[in-house]
Amino acid sequence: MKKSVFLGTLAVAGVAAGFASAQTLAEVQERGALNCGVTTGLTGFAAPDANGEWQGFDVSICRAVAAAVLGDANAVEFVPTTGQTRFTALASGEIDLLARNTTWTFSRDVDLAFEFVGVNYYDGQGFMVPRELGVSSALELDGATVCIQTGTTTELNLADFFSSNNMSYEPVPIETNAEAQQQYLAGACDVYTTDASGLAATRATFEDPAAHVLLPEIISKEPLGPLVRHGDHEWGDIARWTLNALVAAEELGVTSANVGEIGGTTENPEIRRLLGTEGELGAMLGLDADWAARAIAAVGNYGEVFDGNIGESTPIGLARGLNAQWTDGGLLYSPPFR
């Protein structure tokens, strides 16, 4: 019995660690589909719609990469992951890309050996409480019961926030956003805490969103972005520059509507390089010249992705805030396509 347990563990570990080399692009192209890790369901960011099609802000990243690499935005196998399973799924090679509002932290980048390819949403951790509780500040939450997704950075921030303010709380650990929502609505916890964007997205699905308030305190920096495994820099570059292409496209005025002809008509050399009508940027990535044009045509530029999924015109209603272009006073800034 001892031996079989040992063998089993080693076998799992052996398989799990067996994928670490610079060949993800070739694997994806051979497979004809991108395996993309997303959340198990967070409206606006990644959730299947009524037809079972995955939709959302994070999903668009998956589709953009699939369009750039495979020429087909629908050639994506979506793999739902929880806060606890996401890193194992990526490390083991079950997914090629994780686009699941994951916070870029030092230890994840360095110690867990992942490579964050950029930030697609600048976020911070917030609190949501029922309006009838009459709480107006997170500093009034002493003694509250808090629903929290386990295995996340929010779990650690929460502990730090409460202990640095000399307050106590009772954590209710849960696995997925759906579970958290159910527990919170049933009143099993007074407060739900996660990234402010996630709170807004969750609240948008409530029957009566106005009965719940987001507290003003934002207690952490949560730069959310897609990530890949360490060690395959070609693949990391593809994901990084696909994200940058969406950001740059908004800045340069390229949209999904005009991407078809603007590359041929514009005099702007950066747009021409981005869309592959000039220069060799695509070949440097090991892709076709119009890789970025395909990605933009498939999902739109960053602004279109934002407005279509989580922007102010959607039920989630997030303002651009920090996520505006640097030219509009935000933090979005793509390195030049040169």
Partner: protein, 405 residues
């Protein structure tokens, strides 16, 4: 003259290793051993190479670093400044607590249901059949979630207890609150002299056992039966109660009170704990009921008839004649059920009960990225726990099994 020749020296040939039955089994074992060792070496080597390729090392140092997360149920001191090892210990104790209480409850439920299922009363027998079949044939995870969902959805929130005309009220003279966060009940507060009180209580329990053995001896010698149950009951309550008042009520009750967001004070049994405990006990209890039923049926009917012929009442027949013999059949499969219950407690993750699977095998692994190390430790813990349970129960089994000379 006949010369005596030695029998021909049989030369050993390699093919004998396979075709000669004297050597064959050894050959197979040696080959199998070599293959298994090669397999282990290959897997181990694979792990080392792949970990090195991913830039990861194999290191248990993470156990000593700050955990940074909070745990809601802890039997020992713990804060988010404690180490991951401490968090693992908290989880281990939570696992052991629910497993221990689960085994006790499952045994009580199982023995009761097993005996009652054989009842001649049609309704009682059928009810037990429904219970056993219902729990045995539906996955445990569903029961855990169902019980948890009922407790969360069907009970009032703490804030419903607030105000002049509150929607909900506490039961049992305002001492117990059943909420969707758990059951809040009074907790004993140990004052001065309470140690003495506990000592007196323990002494009276010893007294009960002494009295019982004296009564048995007397019965064996004279045949006269003493009122064991009534005297035991009196011994259980009276000395402690008298001492309680003489010592000036050293133990008081700390009542839960609604303050801030939640009830504070008293003892909180969390919904996650209750759901897990209940579901584990009921589920395993159904299996134990079948084991008990099988054990009782295994005792020859003649034993029951003989004791009836001696004029024993049915419940005495059950307790003194049938169950002691049935135990020999019951205990070995019972050990497996205890092991199952302990291992099944790892389903705690479904309701957020912070057992060792949730702390060491969940949050710690996730926050540190040490899956391999964490899972090895977790496996080791369950292995050791199972071996200890199985070893302990086997000792008990040896003491009740038929003594042969």
């Amino acid at each position: 003259m006949a010369t005596l020749t030695d029998p021909p020296q049989q030369s050993f040939q390699l093919s004998q290793l396979i075709y000669d039955t004297r050597y064959r089994s050894t050959t197979i074992q040696v080959v199998a051993f070599i293959l298994i060792m090669a397999g282990i070496w290959w897997l181990g080597n694979n792990v080392v190479t792949n970990l090195a390729a991913r830039g990861k090392d194999f290191d248990f140092g993470f156990l000593g670093s700050r955990a940074g997360y909070d745990i809601n149920q802890m039997l020992v001191e713990y804060s988010n400044d404690s180490t991951h090892a401490r968090a693992a210990l908290v989880g281990i104790l939570n696992t052991l607590l629910v497993a221990f209480l689960g085994c006790i409850a499952a045994t009580i439920i199982g023995v009761t249901a097993g005996v009652l299922r054989l009842s001649k009363n049609w309704i009682v027998g059928r009810l037990m059949t429904v219970y056993v079949e219902g729990f045995r044939n539906i996955p445990l995870l569903l029961w855990i979630i169902v019980i948890f969902a009922i407790m969360t959805e069907a009970t009032p929130q703490p804030r419903d207890f607030r105000g002049e005309d509150a929607e909900a009220s506490m039961i049992l003279w305002d001492s117990v609150a059943i909420t969707n966060r758990g059951i809040f009940m009074p907790a004993p507060q140990w004052g001065a002299n309470s140690l003495l009180l506990v000592a007196i209580f323990l002494a009276s329990i010893v007294g009960i056992f002494v009295y019982r053995s004296m009564a048995r001896k007397k019965q064996e010698q004279t045949g006269a039966q003493s009122p064991v149950f009534l005297v035991g009951l009196a011994l259980f309550f009276i000395p402690t109660l008298i001492a309680y008042f003489i010592l000036g009520r050293p133990v008081t009750l700390n009542y839960p009170e609604l303050g801030g967001f939640n009830f504070s004070g008293g003892l909180q049994l969390r919904n996650s704990f209750i759901a897990l405990w209940f579901a584990l006990s009921l589920y395993t209890g159904a299996f134990i009921a079948e084991i008990v039923r099988a054990g009782i049926l295994a005792v020859n009917k003649g034993q029951t008839e003989a004791s009836s012929a001696l004029g024993m009442r049915p419940n005495r027949t059950m307790n003194l004649v049938v169950l002691p013999q049935a135990l020999r059949v019951i205990i070995p499969p019972l050990i497996s059920q205890y092991l199952n219950l302990t291992k099944n407690s790892s389903l705690a993750i479904a309701v957020g009960y912070m057992d060792v699977r949730a702390t060491l095998g969940g949050i710690t692994v996730n926050q540190t990225g040490r899956e391999l190390e964490g899972m090895l430790l977790l496996g080791l813990f369950y292995l050791i726990t199972s071996l200890v349970i199985s070893g302990g129960m086997n000792l008990y089994n040896n003491s009740v099994k038929l003594q042969e000379r």
